[in-house]
């Protein structure tokens, strides 16, 4: 075993009872800002990730509101098309790489060690480094807004040659910032894998791990597999822009379609990176509040693994209209349709868990249930998009925008919120304010559906994505979407209020904050002291 646990001395075992003082006899800890800059505690780094993610969620949200404000009615009112394109691009990049991914990494930092009975992440200093890369990366990315020629304006998918030959000068900064974010993700993933494989409590087999741990393990492997592909493709862009190569420039004998193959070979696993940990969270919350064991633990693990494997075989379904040969279209259509099977298994499992349970509706459960319903709606439109002939009509319209926002907002983001409500008592020692949490939930559900449901209709009726102005027949749908977006955006202020109130005080939570909860994190006090599981706990398999 490569990891060294200090043997508890008699002195230590007395101080662990009062855990806040557990490290009082270690060297003095830095205070103030340096405490956060130098921290190697998985809990503090987890909090940093979550606060960073929340900040990015608001910045990306403001960009989205600029987009929705311009689209409130036909005509150009607020912004020029150039700036509109910068807003859609930055919104996508910030939300995917700055908000959702760091939120999941933050949750993993906090909860994976607690759920497997480990004292910390396996590589604590690396952990610190992978977090602090992110503020650098995103400051760099946001600074492009103030550069001559403006920020990246070619969409978050940055298709060449629009993103190379025709791109603004700031694109080189964008590439550097994505490299940094990518390195951060790879290091984070290595750390999570090392932690899960090496630091599980004695007696905990792989098939005993909570599903959040399982889904994160698989996600981490996906990250390690595809982030280098992203790094490769942006490096090729860098060469095309600055060093005269022609990877993606037809004029120099290059191939613009190659860009899309490489991008989506990264991009499709990436979208599962954004959703698999969400499956893990929901699989923890639903059994807790249904007070009933998850119906099929093993089949959930296998379904997650199948989805991960299939994710490498479906990338070209984003490219049905680029002129692929017929056999390629058929292969990618069949493979994509196949993903519906393991995804269905997951949904059926959650619902069968609810069946004949003893159900209560605490805030985490509300978000988890909304996740199941609304993610499934996103899954349905995904199934429709998989039908290649029909995709010729759907592709690059608002129908696609509706689809991926359903899986990402009431999907991934709702799962993150569910997780925050679920684990806040563990992090702060207080329950979140119940009534305000409910207000946040209902405003979010109404806002999200008002925003994204009409997009199905405008897309089917023929509205393309990424346009700053639109034909008159789409006006009503867009007005509803914009109002919904404003409601959804504003209701997130309630979320911040709930979190701030919960950190400062509120109803005290016991170690086991939810009576139906079973995993190891509920065996340590609330709030979790800085050092937990300094001696590995004895893991006992729950008896059913």
């Amino acid at each position: 075993m490569a990891f060294h646990f200090p043997k508890p001395t008699p002195e230590q075992s007395t101080t662990t009872a009062d855990a806040g003082l557990a490290d009082s006899h270690h060297h003095e800890r830095p205070r103030g800002l340096m405490r956060w800059v130098l921290t190697t505690s998985h809990k503090e780094i987890g909090s940093l990730y979550l606060i960073f993610s929340l900040t990015m969620f608001f910045i990306g949200g403001i960009f989205a509101l600029v987009v929705r404000a311009e689209l409130f009615q036909p005509g150009l009112q607020l912004v020029e098309p150039e700036f509109f394109n910068q807003m859609t691009t930055m919104h996508g990049l910030i939300m995917v790489f700055g908000a959702v991914m760091p939120a999941f990494v933050g949750l993993a930092n906090w909860m994976v060690p607690l759920q497997i009975g480990a004292p910390d992440m396996a590589l604590p200093r690396l952990n610190n480094f992978s977090f602090w890369l992110l503020p650098v990366a995103f400051t760099l990315l946001l600074s492009t807004l103030f550069m001559p020629g403006g920020a990246p304006n070619f969409g978050w998918t940055f298709y060449a040659p629009l993103s190379t030959t025709y791109a603004p000068p700031s694109t080189t900064f964008f590439i550097l910032s994505l490299h940094l974010a990518g390195i951060s993700s790879i290091l984070g993933a290595i750390n999570i894998i090392a932690t899960i494989l090496n630091l599980r409590a004695p007696g905990m087999r792989m098939m005993d791990m909570p599903l959040f741990v399982w889904t994160w393990l698989i996600t981490a492997f996906l990250l390690i597999a595809v982030m280098p592909v992203l790094a490769g493709v942006i490096t090729m862009m860098l060469m095309d822009i600055n060093f005269g190569t022609s990877f993606f420039s037809a004029a120099g004998g290059g191939d613009p379609v190659l860009f899309q193959h490489l991008f989506w070979f990264f991009g499709h696993p990436e979208v599962y990176i954004l959703i698999l940990p969400a499956f893990g969270i929901v699989s923890a919350i639903i059994p807790t509040f249904a007070r009933k064991r998850l119906f099929g633990y093993a089949s959930m693990v296998y379904a997650t693994a199948s989805i991960a494997i299939l994710s490498f075989l479906v990338w070209a379904h984003h490219m049905f209209v680029v002129g692929l040969p017929l056999v390629a279209e058929l292969f990618f259509m069949y493979a994509t349709m196949l993903i519906a099977v393991p995804t269905g298994v997951k949904v059926f499992n959650w619902i069968t868990t609810l069946f004949r349970g003893s159900i209560t509706f605490e805030p985490p459960m509300l978000f988890a249930l909304a996740f199941v319903v609304l993610f499934t709606i996103g899954g349905f439109s995904g199934l429709m998009l998989a039908i290649a002939p029909a995709d010729f009509q759907y592709h690059d319209t608002y129908f696609v925008v509706a689809h991926f926002h359903y899986v990402l907002v009431p999907g991934a983001v709702f799962a993150i919120m569910a997780a925050v409500y679920y684990w806040l008592p563990k992090w702060t020692g207080h329950y979140p304010h119940e009534r305000l949490s409910q207000v946040h939930f209902w405003l979010s559900v109404i806002g999200v559906n008002l925003t994204f449901f009409p997009m199905h209709f405008s897309g089917l009726a023929g509205m393309p994505r990424r346009i700053p102005d639109y034909a008159l027949q789409f006006a009503d749908f867009n007005m509803v979407s914009s109002l919904g977006a404003l409601l959804y955006g504003a209701s997130q202020l309630v979320f911040v209020l709930v979190i701030v109130m919960c950190v400062r005080g509120g109803k005290k939570a016991p170690a086991k904050a939810w009576e139906g909860a079973e995993d190891l994190e509920w065996s340590v006090p609330s709030p979790a002291p800085l050092h937990t599981f300094e001696t590995p706990p004895n893991f006992e398999r729950p008896v059913h």
């Binding site: 098309p81 030959t165 499934t376 023929g462 034909a471």
Partner: protein, 372 residues
């Protein structure tokens, strides 16, 4: 009582949703080709399959949420894992998918069959217009959005086909298989007309194929669907389908006009004539970047009004129009514009908005330059 309530609610929802979904403007258009009808029917089939699965899944879910509330005294059962159920809920979706894949495969094969086309049209995407070339007919023209900028900025009332109207639509005959060959000069564009169910990327360095056989005369409108830069939203596609004899008449007329224009190359043009023609060309080709008043939007799109580089060096000016500026957004208009149009637009730029070069650029000079 509770189940009755659920049923009433479900019935009401369905009653509310179905007319909305089926009404025009909320759903994919059925379109005017055999393929578009096939695609529409695939779309509706998969939609109703999703609705059916949704009713069952959400039905069980909401039933459980109402029936097994702890506040109503529900005690949790303790069952988990059941091989039979798990095999069933893996196998049944698989069968549904296979059933769906069969017609989808047939339609896709049909879409890929571009053989036996009677007319070939080359479609070229450029920032931010379409160029149509009728192969073998010597007819080529560009198609620009014709919605006035005043409507976009809100200074004028928006009209019915706001953003979906062009100066010259692609004209095609009905009941004729037309093969479309798509490519692009600069970035990737995508040519889409919903009622024809044709969407195909136009990619620089590639020639993609698609085809259409329109069954009803009419005007069909669509847009570019691949983000292609600043004016991506202002790049409509309009197809006008004519009866076969009307199409033949249109074709003859276009050919004659092209011949007229070609003859104009040899003669000397007056300044006023060139200015008039040049203003048209400028308005449809150049104004989207360099602005109608020549003010441009620096640094990406330089101003032309008062541009001394341009006014002092007529050769450089013409060369820029013909060959573009590599590494910038300025495309080469060598093949997009004919010699008369190049001469006219150059003359216009040299003498409009207070520019006072006073010279004319003659079409014959351009012909010489192009031959070099």
């Amino acid at each position: 009582m509770r189940t009755l309530l659920v049923r009433v609610a479900a019935g009401l929802t369905l009653a509310l949703i179905s007319p909305l979904v089926l009404a025009n403007g909320w759903n994919m258009p059925i379109g005017v080709t055999a393929l578009s009808r096939e695609i529409h029917s695939l779309h509706m089939t998969i939609f109703w399959i999703c609705v059916a699965i949704g009713v069952v899944v959400f039905g069980v879910m909401f039933y459980s949420l109402f029936r097994y509330r702890r506040s109503k005294g529900a005690e949790a059962a303790n069952f988990h894992e059941h091989t039979g159920v798990e095999v069933l809920w893996t196998a049944v979706p698989l069968l549904i998918l296979v059933a769906m894949a069969v017609p989808a495969t047939a339609t896709l094969k049909n879409m890929y069959d571009v053989s036996d086309a009677e007319i070939d049209v080359m479609v070229t995407g450029q920032q931010w217009r379409w160029r149509y070339e009728y192969l073998g007919e010597d007819i080529a023209f560009t198609s620009n959005m014709s919605t006035p900028r005043e409507q976009i900025s809100g200074e004028a009332e928006k009209t019915e086909n706001y953003l979906l109207e062009v100066d010259e639509p692609l004209v095609l005959p009905v009941d004729t298989k037309v093969r479309l060959l798509l490519t692009a000069d600069d970035v990737i564009h995508s040519w889409w007309v919903p009622e024809l169910a044709v969407k195909q990327d136009a990619i620089p360095g590639f020639v993609n194929e698609n085809w259409v056989r329109i069954e009803e005369p009419g005007i069909y409108r669509g847009q570019c669907t691949e983000l292609c830069g600043m004016d991506h939203g202002f790049m409509p596609v309009v197809v006008e389908a004519l009866e076969k004899d009307e199409y033949e008449a249109w074709l003859a007329e276009r050919k004659e006009a092209a011949e007229q224009e070609a003859m104009g190359v040899d003669r000397e043009w007056e300044l006023a004539e060139l200015m008039e023609r040049g203003e048209q060309v400028y308005g449809s080709i150049c104004a989207s970047c360099h602005q109608a008043d020549g003010s441009g939007s620096p640094p990406a799109f330089p101003a032309l009004a008062g541009n001394t580089d341009m006014l002092d060096d007529v050769e450089w000016h013409i060369d820029t129009i013909i060959n573009g500026v590599s590494g910038s957004a300025m495309p080469a208009f060598r093949s997009t514009l004919n010699p008369v149009e190049i001469a006219a637009v150059a003359t216009y730029e040299r003498n409009a908005w207070g520019n006072d070069a006073g010279d004319t650029v003659q079409p014959s000079e351009i012909v010489e330059l192009l031959e070099e």
